[in-house]
């Protein structure tokens, strides 16, 4: 290995570096300490490492940066892909077998048997363990959660059991990880310290010393272990809920271990003590305690720089599910089926040879030609009307009963779009009122109403025969809708004091005699809006008393307004162009707009014919499509 491991953080650094790239700690300590550790490590530990390399389980091959490769687990890398460190390991000498065959009954094997999470068989063991065994066991358990792999430890130490180790295995081995920490620290240090030559021989009861001999231990040992033990036990209780009895049971054994360690330490010379791994470890431990804390202390317990070459990296398994191509195709098919079920069915688009826009354009042109034909040729489709509706008859009678030259109110509440129909429907009535010399007051709740009323009167009487302007007072527009008309009905002079030209309205000749709404001899309402007509009827009904209320409405509003005629709230009703023509007919006047009426009727008949033809086409198409589908559909096909 050409790299230098940092003694502080364990990161590898280039050999020429003096300080760690990660934590900037001096690397000199590591460069000096590691060889000494290599040199001083016992032979059994070397063999442990070698065996761990041999018995390393098959892990998924990892490429650069730990990414799992696609090759099978057992397939080795090609020669060119073999890293240098692996070549060195492969070229190294095979592990030397121990001189004796006693390790075949390995205490490590029994250690696996006892450990709950071991991969070995779980046969119950009744043997005892020495302090070396316990130290190796604790070190292995310490490494387990971090490296997730247990490296088999071997030792040439023959099987030596003590009652103390048995009792210790019943406690700390099954103890949670945090509470094991103090034991691990002590045992691992002890493991480094004790040379194979110093391993006690069979029958040596190393832990049989009484606990009270703790006073004989070294002073440094008196400081650290009890503190750590108490801290770890507390953590253990909090995290895992370990029973307190369990902790109290383990304490004497740990004290015994400390006593044994101190006993062995005290047997060494002072120089060896200071240079021994155990001493250096506890020196490091003291340093960590002063700077880091419990967690930093735990990390320094087994320096990563020491363990890194010994233990392999944790096995990494790919999280991706290995699926075949056929399975992938099945997944794709299932997905598409599910998506098709979720999405709503789109309506079947009716395909036609002609687009809707083209058909509408042709239809519009056809309508224009048909309805324009009477204007160009003077063609009259029907003879003059011979039947008269009850509303028209009532209108005629109401107007006939009105006095001449009396104030009359005209409400012009229709929109410009309906001006053609409203004009045609109301012309006969207004002409009849003009013949009576009525003084008109025009009001509107629609902004464009006054202008349309003026246009209507102007159309009725051209310039030569124009109606005298002093007989027409256009008050303009009153805002507020229903509230505005209510205001006008209650007090016309206050609600609309001015003409649309700005002059005072109620001194104008046409409006001068009017002080309240009852002063009008009648009211004519021209509207296409059923709501407006309803509001006027309901508000005027009690105010006009016996004065006639007349209405000219469009055909679309007639069904809503006609009930008021039936109930007597209306005194006359003309709906649409046809009934306007009826009124003209009743007046014995020539048809006022015969050509327009003919054009209107031709357009209506054309619309009826197109709707019937379209319906028949749809029915026939449906029938033929059904026959077509019935003849071509394969009912027996798969």
């Amino acid at each position: 290995m050409n790299e230098i491991l940092c003694p502080n953080c364990g990161k590898s650094n280039p050999p020429e570096m003096e300080f760690c790239e990660n934590c900037l700690s001096p690397l000199q300590i590591e460069s000096t300490s590691e060889p000494s550790f290599e040199n001083t490590q016992p032979d059994w530990l070397k063999r442990v490492r070698e065996r761990s390399q041999e018995e390393k389980p098959n892990t998924p091959p990892l490429g650069d940066f730990g990414v799992a490769e696609n090759r099978p687990f057992d397939q080795s890398l090609t020669t060119g892909e073999t890293p240098d460190w692996l070549k060195e390991l492969q070229n190294s000498e095979p592990p030397q077998k121990s001189e004796t065959n006693e390790p075949e009954i390995d205490w490590i094997t029994r250690l696996h048997e006892i450990q709950g999470d071991s991969n070995q068989s779980r046969s119950q063991s009744t043997t005892f363990y020495s302090d070396e065994e316990l130290a190796a066991m604790a070190a292995a358990r310490k490494l387990e959660p971090k490296a997730n792999s247990v490296t088999d430890l071997s030792s040439e130490k023959p099987e030596e059991e003590t009652n103390l180790a048995e009792s210790l295995l019943q406690g700390p081995v099954q103890q949670p990880q945090d509470s094991e920490l103090s034991n691990n620290k002590i045992n691992f240090s002890q493991q480094n310290e004790i040379q194979p030559a110093d391993i006690p021989q069979s029958g040596e009861q190393v832990f049989e010393k009484p606990v009270n001999q703790e006073e004989e231990s070294s002073p440094w040992l008196n400081i650290i272990p009890p503190v750590e033990n108490s801290i770890d036990l507390t953590i253990s209780e909090q995290k895992n809920g370990t029973d307190l009895v369990f902790s109290s049971n383990t304490q004497p054994e740990e004290k015994a271990i400390h006593a044994e360690v101190s006993k062995k330490e005290s047997g060494l010379p002072s120089e060896e003590k200071s240079a021994s791994p155990l001493s250096s470890f506890f020196d490091l431990e003291n340093q960590e305690r002063s700077t880091g804390g419990a967690i930093a202390f735990e990390e320094s317990l087994i320096p990563e720089g020491v363990l890194q070459p010994q233990y392999s990296r944790a096995a990494e398994y790919s999280g991706r599910l290995e699926i075949s191509e056929s399975q992938r195709d099945s997944i794709t098919l299932l997905k598409s089926m599910l998506v098709g079920e979720i999405q709503p069915k789109l309506p079947t688009k009716l395909r036609s040879k002609f687009s809707g826009r083209f058909v509408r354009a042709v239809l519009g042109v056809f309508l224009l030609v048909t309805m324009g034909y009477p204007f160009f040729t003077g063609f009259l489709l029907m003879k003059p009307v011979a039947l008269f509706s009850p509303g028209v008859v009532a209108m005629r009678n109401s107007i006939a009963s009105l006095p001449e030259n009396a104030p009359f109110l005209i409400v012009s509440d229709f929109e410009p779009a309906f001006s053609g129909e409203m004009k045609a429907a109301s012309m006969g009535v207004i002409d009849n009122l003009m013949m009576k010399g009525m003084n008109f007051t025009v009001i509107s709740t629609v902004p464009s109403g006054p202008a349309l009323a003026r246009d209507l009167i102007k159309t009725m009487r051209p310039v030569t025969f124009s109606y005298p302007p002093e007989k027409v007072a256009v008050l303009g527009f009153i805002p507020g809708g229903t509230t505005g008309l209510q205001d006008f009905i209650r007090n016309p002079r206050l609600a609309a004091p001015l003409l649309d030209g700005g002059a005072y309205a109620w001194t104008y000749p046409a409006a001068q005699p009017v002080k309240m709404i009852e002063d009008y001899v009648g009211v004519l309402l021209i509207t296409e809006n059923a709501e407006i007509g309803r509001a006027w009827i309901e508000q005027l009904h009690n105010s006009l008393s016996d004065k006639p209320l007349l209405m000219v409405v469009s055909v679309q509003s007639a069904p809503i307004v006609r009930p008021y005629l039936d109930s007597g709230q209306l005194n006359g009703l003309i709906s649409g162009r046809v009934e306007g023509a009826m009124y003209d007919r009743m007046m014995d006047s020539p048809p006022r707009a015969a050509i327009e009426m003919s054009s209107y009727q031709m357009g209506m008949l054309l619309a009826v014919g197109l709707i019937i033809l379209g319906g028949l086409y749809g029915i026939l198409k449906k029938i033929f499509r059904r026959q077509h589908v019935g003849s071509t559909e394969d009912w027996h096909g798969g």
Binding site: L363, A386, P416, L452, P479, G481, D566, R577, G614
Partner: protein, 206 residues
């Protein structure tokens, strides 16, 4: 209660106007008239506010960085042009200014109605293709029947008693529907008025 003062004012105003219909007390009628005058004046102010809001809204649409509404410039241009004409010509009473209505608004709106008529005829042609069933058939037949009825072809020189009776019956069919609508409207109006008078509905406090 939310906005109790506004609710109290609304209830009192409604009650006074309502009572003035039934009780010919001069003082009550005077107060009612005053309240209605205020409402009409406020309606005029509201229309001014609506006009300003309309112009501002179209101006904002025009100022949008993403997809500006370019037709809004026609609205703004038409509004200010009409306003200018009205101010210069002396208001809506001027016959020349009234040509804005008779020669601009009227043809445009009438043309739109003509296009609507053509579209409705086209929809009537495709009616049975889109929706098939007895109700569609009934709707189509009634449409054809009443188009013929209101075209006036049956009223021309057909002084036959059975036709007269038949026309009378046919004309009563929409009248029956219209009467039902009017009754429903009256009941709805009464209910809405009572809810406002009792303070259940407070559209003014929203």
């Amino acid at each position: 209660m939310k906005a109790p003062i506004a609710t109290l004012i609304a209830i009192l105003s409604g009650l006074i106007v309502l009572l003035a219909y039934f009780l010919p007390i001069p003082a009550l009628m005077g107060i009612s008239q005053l309240i209605i005058n205020w409402a009409v004046s406020l309606s005029g102010v509201a229309m001014l506010v609506a006009i300003i809001s309309l112009v501002a809204s179209h101006w904002q649409k025009l100022q949008q960085k993403r997809n500006p509404e370019r037709y809004s410039i026609l609205v703004i241009f038409g509004f200010f042009l009409t306003l200018l004409f009205g101010v210069v010509m002396g208001g809506p009473g001027n016959p020349e200014f009234q040509k804005v209505v008779t020669q601009f608004i009227l043809p445009v709106e009438a043309g739109l109605l003509g296009a609507l008529a053509a579209g409705l005829i086209y929809a009537g042609m495709r009616l049975y293709r889109a929706n098939r069933g007895w109700m569609t058939l009934v709707f189509g037949i009634s449409t054809v029947l009443f188009l013929l009825l209101y075209s006036g072809i049956f009223t021309s020189s057909l002084d036959i008693p059975i036709i007269k009776e038949g026309l009378g019956i046919l004309q009563r069919l929409p009248d029956a529907g219209g009467r039902g609508i009017v009754i429903g409207l009256a009941l709805g109006t009464i209910a809405a008025g009572l809810r406002i008078l009792l303070g259940v509905d407070r559209p003014y406090s929203s």
